[in-house]
Amino acid sequence: MVSLSSLTIACFIGIPLGTVLAIKRFYFRKTLLAIINSLMGLPPVLVGLIVYLYLSRSGPLGWLGILYSPTAMIIAQVILIAPIITALSNQIIEELHEDYRDLFLSLNAKPIQAVIAYIYDSRYSLLTVILAGFGRAISEVGAVIIVGGNIDHLTRVMTTAIALETSKGNLNLALGLGIILLIISLSISLLVMWIKSFSKRYAHV
């Protein structure tokens, strides 16, 4: 599924980046953080348009020939959700870092060890962050309809199918699809909650 692939990629970019931004102190860090925070509210249609312009056969990346493909949709969604995951995980890790910085300094731990410890320690909070990113990915329609083209059996996803059925006046079918989308989203949240409570209980055994 497009949303899951983009979520995975966005996590691999977002969580490490968020952590580095939380720990390292460098010039422009604040500016960079402000930019990433504002990118959380990036309008999907704008992302769709920009990705379209790049991937169009007359655009700079046109030779790839991936416009109107699931790959194009994944690229657009990664751009949309990576800032969310980066900013939120940065927030979480930064708070941890304030508490533990001195401890790690005294233990003379390598930065990479600290990073792993932070991510491991905040894994439950990060799950919620990932859920937020996933929510954005599966609910989004503006970007994927531009770069995917809503092609039957190729780039049509739940949200674009809902848009299409609504425009055909098949409101019942559109609503049905919407409910199923909700159920998917709900079951994933429940699964995450269950994982959390399950592992917390056994963590103390």
Partner: protein
């Protein structure tokens, strides 16, 4: 229960199709929402695949957007309905050849209450004049689609400057035909719509056809080939196979025999 089953099947398909890899042997057809929403492609694409071996991915946007996408080389073939724009597309060197493919017509739809008091004997121009005079709500596509161009040309004939009315009784949605119809029905407004979309549209409420069957409401669909001197990456060979099929006796007969709710939606007219 049947609806639920049908839905579940769709969901199932949706779930897995997204994981498919792009088939590079498929051509991209830039086309319009009216042809797509009518189900014409669901009917034609498998037939074409069977006869020529070419699969087609249809991108359905307004005619204006489809032409712009084709100018960016993001389509292997163009099927739209705005003849002057199609000719301009060729004149600018983006396209090579244009064929008449099929036609149907536009109709004016509106609420049963008929606030502009349009009579069934009124011609379209008179009807639009009444709408403007009574300032009855009218919803326009406003997206440079073929339907939008036709509608704007009618207002031009009447010398009514609708652009300056935009936002008052004249409302532009900037959306596809189906979305625009939904909005018109929500507001109780008149709208110009192609017959194929109207026949297949399932949320009509108390709306009905107010004006129809006029020469001026003729709606011609054209098939335009893309210039490969301008777009070397397009799949001209496969596009030509599809054109050949669509213009063949077989293709033309198939188009004219596509029916929804007992109505023929498109009449083929290549070489007519």
């Amino acid at each position: 229960m049947r609806i639920i089953k049908k839905n579940l099947l769709i969901i199932f398909v949706l779930f897995f199709q997204a994981t498919q890899v792009t088939a590079s042997d498929a051509i991209i057809l830039q086309s319009t929402t009216s042809t797509k929403n009518s189900g014409l492609y669901d009917y034609l694409v498998p037939l074409i695949k069977e006869d020529t071996g070419v699969s087609i991915n249809v991108v359905a946007v307004g005619t204006g957007a489809a032409i712009k996408n084709a100018e960016n080389c993001d389509g292997d073939l163009l099927l739209v309905h705005d003849t002057p724009k199609e000719i301009r597309f060729i004149d600018k060197g983006f396209g090579v050849q244009r064929y008449n493919l099929m036609y149907n017509d536009f109709v004016l739809v509106g609420p049963k209450s008929n606030p502009a008091n349009i009579k069934t004997t009124d011609k379209i121009l008179k009807a639009l004049k009444k709408i403007a005079e009574t300032k009855s709500l009218f919803v326009s596509r406003g997206d440079e689609s073929g339907t939008d161009a036709k509608e704007k040309s009618l207002w031009n004939l009447l010398n009514i400057k609708v652009q300056s009315m935009s936002g008052t009784w004249y409302r532009e949605t900037g959306s596809g035909m189906g979305t625009t119809l939904n909005i018109a029905i929500g507001m109780g407004a008149y709208a110009l719509v192609d017959r194929a979309t109207w026949v297949t549209f399932n949320n009509r409420a108390d709306f009905e056809i107010i004006v129809e069957n006029e020469r001026i409401l003729f709606n011609q669909y054209g098939l335009v080939t893309i210039n490969d001197a301008n777009c070397p990456n397009i799949n001209l060979e496969k596009a030509n196979l599809v054109i050949k099929w669509l213009l063949s006796d077989e293709g033309q007969t198939r188009i004219s025999s596509y029916e929804v709710k007992g109505e023929i939606l498109f009449f083929s007219n290549f070489n007519k």
